[in-house]
Structures are given as structure tokens and as C-alpha cells.
Symmetry: C2
Subunit: 134 residues, 2 copies
């Protein structure tokens, strides 16, 4: 099996947070929403059902962990979880903290307007809080 290599677009749009058992956890560089990406470190996969049953269970466990931490940190109204991959095919799962009245509420965040990169200090602070919460 070929080695896993993070997709260049996912890499360019996000910051590393931590590596979990299955996934790399990354923070999307978009200050409009606290928005995380889980990327299973398995090469060549596109759909969740391309993962083995054990890896699907790990992904479920890691999504649960990350979603709870994000809810706790942000006190958001609703967590949005999604795996679309219409633009970037490398399998990845979005975990996003949504708040009533946020930039896209109540619609989805994907494809909404233009990304607003973080100030470096804000991204660093959020990443530190996430690491502490996990």
C-alpha cells in the first residue's frame, strides 16, 4: 500500500493540531467558524466505506472525541459533521462549531463566501486550547 500523503489543498487551507490514532486533526484556516478536519491516514481512500470496519469505528470514536471537545470549548449551538469530498477527493471529515447568526446560519458552511484566514496569534491560541481539551 502506498504511503499516506496529505492532499496539498487540505494542507494549504488548514493548520496541524495533533495526530490521533487514525486521523490527522487540522484546523481550517477560516476565522468565521471553529472548523476542524479529521483526515484518516490511509492512502487512496475516497468514501467512508472504503475504510475497513475497524477503521470506521476508530473514525467514529475520533469524531466523537473532537466534536465533544469543540462543543465544550466553544459552547456552540450545534455541531455540524460532514464528509463531502466533491472538490477534494482525499477522504476527510469536517467537524464545525455553529452558532445562531453566524456567517452562514442556518445554511451549511461549505462554499459560503470567501475564507477569512486567522491572525497567527488567534490560530495558535485556538490550537493550544484544542490540544488541551483533547
Amino acid at each position: 500500500m502506498p504511503d499516506f500523503k496529505l492532499d496539498t489543498r487540505l494542507k494549504g487551507d488548514s493548520h496541524p493540531v495533533v495526530t490521533l490514532g487514525l486521523c490527522r486533526l487540522r484546523l481550517m484556516d477560516d476565522a468565521r467558524w471553529p472548523w476542524l478536519l479529521l483526515v484518516p491516514q490511509r492512502a487512496g481512500l475516497v468514501e467512508i466505506f472504503d475504510l475497513s470496519p475497524l477503521d470506521q469505528t476508530l473514525l467514529t470514536f475520533e469524531t466523537d472525541l473532537v466534536a465533544k471537545a469543540l462543543k465544550h470549548l466553544t459552547g456552540c449551538t450545534k455541531i455540524n459533521v460532514g464528509s463531502l469530498g466533491n472538490q477534494v477527493r482525499q477522504l476527510h471529515v469536517h467537524v464545525i462549531a455553529r452558532r445562531e447568526g453566524d456567517a452562514a446560519w442556518p445554511g451549511p458552511v461549505w462554499g459560503h463566501g470567501e475564507r477569512e484566514p486567522y491572525e497567527k496569534s488567534s490560530a495558535d491560541a485556538l490550537i493550544a486550547s484544542l490540544r488541551a481539551a483533547l
Copy 2:
């Protein structure tokens, strides 16, 4: 624990397909995309992490089953899976067959334009195919 009762908006926007171990499977009444809903039959839950670890594993298993069947039936380009709940809070998971050039491609389907209900015969035929594929 109170009895599970399907949210009235979810009920009004979709047709029953089959009941699985954990979830009711429903077909969204929108002919623009083959679009399924999995609704765990647990009362009062909002987030995936509100499910017990066992129920989360069941949900993962049932999502896998349904996504594979939908991919097989439609030959779609990409399966989209999402749990948003910004408008309807009762926990539900969307499984949608996407094709390059479809009505919202490559954006998400949620909040895109107006729902286009099926002709009754088309919905019945798709539901029969889904039951056979599961």
C-alpha cells in the same frame, strides 16, 4: 425515557423506506438528488455524541450499509454524508448521491433552491430498488 417520535418536518419532507436496527431510513422527497435520511430511533437526541458508544457504532454500520447501496444503485460520483441539524434538531444523518454537474455540484445540497417532489411512481420505484439493495 420518552418514546421516539419522528420530527414532523422530517416526516413531511420524506418517504419511509425501511426500519433498520437503530435507524429509520427515509427517502427525501426531492427528485434533484437520490437523498436518504437515517434517523436513530432514540428520543431527545441532538448530536451524534448524544448516542451511546454502541449506538454510534450501529449508526456507523448502518450509514456504511446505506451509502454502499446508494453508490451501487446510482453509480454516483461521490457520496455526501452529513449531520447538520441547524434547522431540525432531531438527530438525523443525510446520505446523498452526488454526480458531477448535478443541481448544486460541487456545492452542498442543503439550502440549495427549492425542493422538487418526486412523481409518485418514481419515488415508489426508487424505494423498491433501495429495499432490494439493502
